[in-house]
Amino acid sequence: MKARKVKGLAENGDFAANARRIIEVRLGELCALAPKALDESRPKKLHDMRIAAKRLRYVLEIARPALGAGASDGARAAKKLQEILGDIHDCDEMLPRVEEHARRLRAADVDALTARAGARARDLDPTLASTAPNLDRHRGLEALAAHVTARRRVLFARFEREWARLEERDFPATLLESINEPVPAPQAPQAGAAA
């Protein structure tokens, strides 16, 4: 997913004003993706939302010195969201990997058993099944696939709760408001203070 171009950045403008413009656009991207990502049948949108959360997080981290605590809080929220979505993404990557591995093992077993039966066999002797070359190598894979599928479900429910929590506290408006608050100037060290 390509990031939207941020218009109106002024090279000679101040850091804070430009950072706010970028954050506004990145936050908009994240929020626009949420309704689609919350549809469990659209993993691609979930992946896009993870990327959008990552982009928002990093721009908030960069802007922290200019925008203060509001940017820090926003970066933490975006990071949490990114991590949950990242864990879901790991499940989406793992399950096809497990299934493909099992499929290859099975295909090799089928070839081996067919060869053992011989070209003119009328049927396959059931005792040959125990001679399949990958007999042991299937063990645990079904349990793994079930675990990954269930983990994804658990994580998706966590994502739904997390997004509902962010909406409840009106995350987008709160973030935009907080990054517009004046940042206190760094305090100069007091005379005589310990180094």
Binding site: L9, E11, A63, A66, E93, R137, R139
Partner: protein, 162 residues
């Protein structure tokens, strides 16, 4: 995961181009500071830290894009993205192996061979990806990417001062 190094001298009033120069300089140095640990398969945090550092550098290059000469900026950003992709190819099997080994440890011994077989397959991918990372690190050094990024940072500062 390593924490981002602070970028000194940034404040709300810092001019955008000066912030660009400072951020790119620190983030670029951070990336290449992890290069020595990135190839260690026994410590998977090295490649992870370097990958996260490339993400931070990419973010800085993207945020501050208007401050840099577009051709040099596009070229540097492209190379950083390429490096990040290669590090990602190593990170993917690292993460999968870690998750599978943790899962495998919870299984009874007779149920482990399937997962162990998958881990062995992933170890081969990890080795191959590590060779790709080594080649990419050699390539970026040869192309003097660290120096070019520092040069790019200087350009932004020069424009701001102009």
């Amino acid at each position: 995961m390593a924490k981002a190094r602070p970028v000194p001298g940034l404040s709300p009033d810092t001019r955008f181009a000066a912030a660009a120069a400072a951020a790119v300089r620190v983030r670029a140095a951070e990336v290449f500071g992890f290069a020595d640990r990135a190839l260690d398969i026994a410590d998977i945090e090295g490649v992870h830290d370097m990958r996260v550092a490339t993400r931070r550098l990419r973010a800085a290059l993207e945020v501050f894009a208007p401050c840099f000469p577009s051709a040099e900026h596009a070229e540097a950003l492209g190379e950083v993205k390429r490096l990040a992709d290669v590090l990602g190819q190593r990170r993917d099997p690292d993460v999968a192996i870690e998750a599978l080994e943790s899962f495998e440890a919870g299984l009874a011994l007779p149920d482990r061979p399937g997962v162990a077989g998958l881990v062995a397959e992933l170890r081969e991918q990890q080795d191959a990806a590590n060779e790709t990372v080594a080649a990419e690190l050699a390539r970026v050094r040869e192309r003097r990417l660290p120096e070019r990024l520092q040069g790019l940072a200087d350009t932004a500062r020069g424009e701001a001062a102009a």
